[in-house]
Amino acid sequence: MRPQDILMPVSAGLCCKPGGFHIDPVRPVERAVITHGHSDHARSGHGAVLATRETLDMMRLRYGDHFAGTTQAIAYGEQVRLGDVRIKFHPAGHVLGSAQIAVSCKDTCIVASGDYKDAPDPTCAPFEVVPCDVFITEATFGLPVFRHGNAEDEIRKLLASVALFPERAHLVGAYSLGKAQRVIALLREAGYDAPIYLHGAMEKITGYYESRGVALGELRLIKGMKKADLAGTITLAPPSATSDIWTRRFPDPVTAFASGWMRVRARARQRGVELPLVISDHADWDGLTATIDATGAGEVWVTHGQEDALVHWCTAKGLAARPLDLVGYGEEDEGDATAAGEDAEA
């Protein structure tokens, strides 16, 4: 069976005809299999949803109890049969509950990796290499200029700045789901044990992380805090809030932004970021290429991001590669688009 007969891109997303489902569909479908909880991958209104328990919980937090007709939770390593195919979930290391989905039909195995990173992250299960015939990879940071380095070093940079400017507040822009909790966890690992402040939009999801056993230390909401009391503190906020009227409650804030995009100076400057922190929940160039190698896949499909460079790299290595023209992804993280609720004054 040809791989494109198992999975093919359609306008609703990646469609598996023999299995009768779509992966991360961008519009309502009868049966959806979902890689992770970011809003561009996990949308509401599907008939049936198959995902990890965490992903389902996050969808419920965002959309309410009736986000889908029926739901089914699946654990990492667990296999289920849908129509003529078998699917199995593996950790993707992207955020809590994120999964790669291995779809096997007869003797062909395709892995749809969703979003992934091979870097360590104290808030989620580590990425697992899944040998396959066709590997579907994201390419958010699919250019060799993107090398994220150690997140720990970036955290050290943040702490050095807090030490140098004790009278200023440090405001760290971070996506509410995943990045924020990872930054907090990294701060704790680095020995920072003062309370960390949160923008109201992060409260629910951060509380959920804690309920799943991710220890984040003492967290406080920013609401009601006096300006003077925020000197020398660290606050996490959705990226869009860090250049908003909301920031006026902070004493002379240092605006930081935790994102893989911060590697490129023009991107950081454009946003008025004073302290760029290169911390990403996506694989960097080295991570993407090493992962493709490790899967042993002979064919690579590249989606959302800088497809051209990665397709070129694969081709030069003698791998069959093509861009998958899927639309509607890659806006969740590190971009400007955040869910409307996150912009609200909180």
Binding site: S243, I245, R263, D308
Partner: protein, 562 residues
Amino acid sequence: MNRFAELLDRLSYEPGRNNKLRLITGYFREVEDPDRGYALAALTGALSFKHAKPGLIRDLIAARTDPVLFALSYDYVGDLSETVALMWPKSVIDREHDGHDDQRHHNNPPPPTLTEVVTTLRTLGKTELPKQLTRWLDELDETGRWALLKLVTGAMRIGISARLAKTAAAELGGKDPHDIELMWPGLSPPYLDLFAWLEGRAEKPVNLDPTPFRPVMLAHAIENTDFANLDAADFIAEWKWDGIRVQAVSGRDERGNMQVRLYSRSGEDITRSFPDLLPSLHLPGAIDGELLVVRDGRVQTFNVLQQRLNRKVVSQKLMKDYPIHLRAYDLLGEGDSDLRMLPFEERRARLEAFVTKLDDARIDLSPTIPFDSWDALTAARRNPAGAGAGEDAEAVEGVMLKRRDALYLPGRPKGQWWKWKRDPHIIDAVLMYAQRGHGKRSSYYSDYTFGVWTTVENGEQLVPVGKAYFGFTDEELLQIDRFVRRNTTEKFGPVRHVVHEPDQGLVLEVAFEGLARSPRHKSGVAMRFPRINRLRWDKPPREADRLETLERMLKTDAIIQA
């Protein structure tokens, strides 16, 4: 080098002056000699070595990476040094064969120190450069590579003035930055003596330089209410010339040769830009004065003088077309004597004698304005041409008042010198676009593009004529910010289009100092020093000024220049 790179990296994003100071002082405190000294040299532009060409950097990266991937990356990043710094592949160098056999053979060699980079670059031959750069690029991290490439290509551009770097050094020892300015010409990298003094480990370095810079004395802007407390008889008045403030210093070195240096008001050495003035400064002394372009005995406007500024090469033609001139208004030293502790009136007398002795057409005295009352001076300021400035009146931007007994004190001492600028030009313009500011202002729309009306084929249209980001009060900023947020018609990234219709929009009273023709602006004009003078909530945009008004002002200027 990585620590220095980290500093440059932080500085490149930090908009606030005081925060920049803190970062630099913090670096000096943390880093040892001689690295910090070379860093100070790099920040003050005191390093000299032959810069690498961008072509060389391109060759280096081409030898290491796939051309398609490089092209895609360069296209995305947009800056050559940064692209190379980011995509430089971690080393696969074969050290066995490159002849550098030492203990670090099989291990990762430590990254080079700034000292190593600077001292190596000074002596390195051109042919050895590519190999050396490659080795360093292998050893440094991303930020380190970026800083290295900026350094070797001579394109640091991080928004730090030499003055700021010296101030940061002064803060290390709680010293007055003026002291550093004074001794600076006698110091050289890596400034071991300077840092020893700053840390209280040694005596103050002595400046043996025959042509030192002396920190300049500055004036306060005078307000109408100030005059009541001032007696006209205590003051000498001069025209305020619209040129560049310079300090022209001549002195003999140990061998008895005459040295001449020109400094900007912040102490930057600008000698090389004005070789045509140097022969005129043939007597030992230090003149405080204004650089001007004078053609056929007439002072040209600042717009003309601008043609001579920031030139890499000063051609014969440039010197002929824009003859440089020094209008002297103070004498800070003569021969071996320091005159700064003399009262201004006495210095002025010494200056008059000195200029007479120089006897050179390129150097003359800034004339004083005779006046016996503030009313008389007010009249002179209103009509410089009739009060002695004659045909040079267009290059007069107001009046300077100096106390007869004022000593020459660095900085802006209170009540000694006053500047009384001529009234600025004023127009009413319409707010068209607003952009968020930086730093403290990053949550405010504080940068405004404004326009005036012009007639086009299909009616009346606003054409942008300038941008301003200060002049308003904090309260006014809040008001404009609120107006912008409520009246946005379109958003483009950080820029908002603000409603600007004949009956809807905000009229800004804009003050500016001068106007120049500019092919780069759609309107054809560029303003000098525009700022928001007042908010005209009362005025409908329809009644704002027209482009013709600006063009008329331009014509008056042009006639005077011709």
